[in-house]
């Protein structure tokens, strides 16, 4: 995909915030000393009076965002995924989840592709944590165009939303002018019937590549971009299970509690179907370049194709 433009999804977040800020007076943005990294600085530059740095104090930031939302603001609160979903979990649960307030959490630097910073910063549990909060919408965009559309959809959605963005540039394959995003709707990106590959985040691009490799090997794969992990698009999963019979899930996240488990939970109750989960196993990450780590953990087109082919032929 060398000819494809690559942009990090966090940049889509920053751009969307800036556009939302221009369109709506009630958008307020909080950050925790990471505005340059999360890209909320774009909003801060355009609307300095509505951008509030909370310093390195994520717990206070989340509850303060809830307070602002209770006054009718739509509050976006940002940090790295590790600190937004991890450190501030209980503030998110009690002050944002329980209240159902209009706080949109923009968590950047999710997953193993954080790279060199190592395990302390590679959040592989955020989907699990956020899925467990009643009413919380949990999403992870595949490219910057989808990220932008998602952030705007989050504004329109009444209630709490968690969005995970990545640090590394990823291929942009959606056409911004034609793209329409809907919370809770998956996107079929290749309509095969031998096996379905359901992915989100930067693994969507890898799954699409894997689909091409599989086609070369005579396996027809259905690729589904599942940007919304909760609420899960049950219809698209059940249809894939019915028509393909086997499903592979791919996420830059622990196999415990994320997209893979969401898909398995649905299928085990509504249509038992064999599933293989690609994600990080029950281990911490470590330092290294993003690409090397993704390959090491099998979060790449080659491994997805290998697993899917073996599974399809079994």
């Amino acid at each position: 995909m060398a000819d494809v433009k690559k942009i990090a999804t966090r940049q889509g977040y920053g751009e969307a915030l800036r556009e939302l800020g221009a369109a709506h007076d009630n958008v307020i943005v909080f950050d925790a000393d990471l505005a340059g990294s999360t890209q909320t600085a774009m909003f801060g530059k355009a609307f300095p009076d509505r951008h509030f740095n909370c310093g390195i104090a994520e717990g206070n930031m989340m509850a303060a965002a809830a307070g602002a939302a209770s006054m009718g603001m739509v509050a976006y609160a940002s940090s790295f995924a590790m600190f937004a979903a991890g450190r501030a979990y209980e503030q998110v649960r009690n002050s944002i989840g329980y209240t159902g307030l209009n706080v949109k959490i923009g968590a950047s630097h999710g997953g193993i592709s954080v790279g060199e910073d190592g395990a302390t910063h590679q959040c592989l549990e955020d989907f699990t944590l956020m899925r467990s909060i009643p009413g919380m919408v949990v999403m992870s965009p595949a490219d910057a165009v989808e990220a932008k559309a998602m952030v705007k959809a989050a504004y329109e959605h009444q209630g709490p939303v968690y969005m995970r963005f990545g640090r590394s540039p990823v291929p942009v394959f959606h056409d911004e002018a034609a793209f329409h995003f809907e919370i809770g709707k998956g996107e079929v990106m290749g309509d095969g019937t031998d096996i379905a590959i359901i992915a989100n985040g930067l693994l969507v691009a890898e799954a699409v590549e894997a689909g091409k490799l599989l086609a070369d090997r005579g396996v027809s794969a259905r690729i589904i971009n599942m940007a919304t992990i909760k609420p899960l698009d049950e219809e698209i999963v059940l249809k894939a299970a019915a028509e393909c019979g086997k499903i592979v899930t791919c996420e830059e996240h622990s196999i415990i509690g994320g997209l893979g488990e969401a898909v398995c939970s649905l299928l085990s109750e509504k249509r038992p179907t064999p599933v293989k989960r690609i994600g990080t196993p029950d281990v911490f990450g470590h330092s290294g370049p993003a690409a090397a780590l993704l390959e090491e953990f099998g979060l790449c087109a080659a491994n997805i194709a290998r697993v899917a082919e073996e599974f399809a032929r079994s």
Binding site: I28, D49, R50, F52, C54, G55, A57, G59, N60, M61, M62, A63, A64, A65, A66, G67, A68, A69, S70, M71, G72, M73, A75, E90, Q91, N94, S95, Y98, T99, G100
Partner: protein, 281 residues
């Protein structure tokens, strides 16, 4: 404050105490100690200080109150009921299955509750966010929050105190109920928060210490709070935990325990006698 106004507040604080005993007794659970120590404060806020209207509990420019020490819900609920936000009789449904009067304040179900609280340290942050938003919206409201002296052991409280000073939230007023006791014992034995005033001032707040059971003192300090510009105001309120019920006063065991039938009867006898005395004044 006129004598009749002070009498009204004293009578209402006594009624709030009766509500605290009745509700926790009916619930067979709850937190009477810290609710009782804040009874004057609740009464002062809802019957003298705050711009609120029980007929329009969501009106835009109302003053906000966040009970950061959410476990003292019985005190808040009694004050709200007395003010007319919901029927007094409902206090007896506290913590019951199907009741909207949850064990800790729930903004979604309880008229007059501006923020759900209960997990200590979060309410004061929410109050900061409210005050920040009010400024952006040119909303003239003031934001009040009540913390426990044990609660300020939470690190998040100090994050919020930094934030409130940094963003010059001068329409935010935080009250700390310094009754000196927390679940495991005296606060200075469990984990000393002292010196509280010095710490608040070091964090950039204007701060004052008052007798939390003295309405003249409360009137003076809340008036002072409104004169301060460019920084938030904190009131360290010296109180007696369990105030107004003889056997509960200064007893750590009454932090989170409900009176049984006999104990409730004793407490209500004392409080009703006090109420009769106050009303006859």
């Amino acid at each position: 404050m006129t004598d009749s106004e002070k009498k009204m507040l004293m009578v209402n604080a006594c009624k709030v105490r009766i509500g605290i005993i009745e509700s926790t007794h009916a619930a067979k659970a709850g937190h009477p100690g810290g609710s009782l120590s804040s009874a004057e404060l609740f009464t002062y806020l809802y019957f003298k200080e705050m711009n609120v209207d029980p007929r329009d509990p969501r009106k835009r420019d109302r003053d906000r109150f966040v009970l950061s020490k959410g476990h003292c819900a019985p005190g808040l609920y009694a004050a709200l009921a007395l003010k007319g936000f919901f029927p007094w009789e409902d206090l007896k449904t506290l913590r019951h299955i199907g009741s909207y009067l949850q064990g800790h304040p729930d903004m979604k179900s309880i008229p007059g509750v501006d923020m759900s609280t209960g997990s200590l340290g979060q309410g004061v942050s929410a109050a900061c966010g409210m005050a920040l938003a009010a400024k952006l919206q040119n909303n003239p409201c003031r934001v009040y929050t009540l913390l426990g002296d044990g609660e300020i052991q939470e690190g998040q409280v100090w994050e919020a105190f930094m934030f409130a000073h940094h963003y010059k939230l001068d329409h935010l007023c935080a009250v700390i109920d310094n009754n000196g006791l927390q679940i495991d014992g005296p606060v200075d034995q469990v984990m000393s928060p002292y010196p509280i005033l010095d710490k608040l001032r070091a964090f950039g707040w204007e701060a004052a210490e008052v007798d939390g059971h003295d309405y003249d003192a409360l009137e003076g300090v809340f008036a002072q709070a409104k004169t301060v510009k460019g920084r938030p105001f904190a009131i360290v309120m010296k109180t007696t935990k369990g105030k107004g019920v003889s056997y509960m006063e200064n007893q750590v065991g009454w932090h989170g325990k409900a009176p049984n039938d006999e104990q409730a009867e004793t407490a209500l006898k004392e409080l009703n006698a006090e109420l009769a005395r106050l009303e006859g004044m």
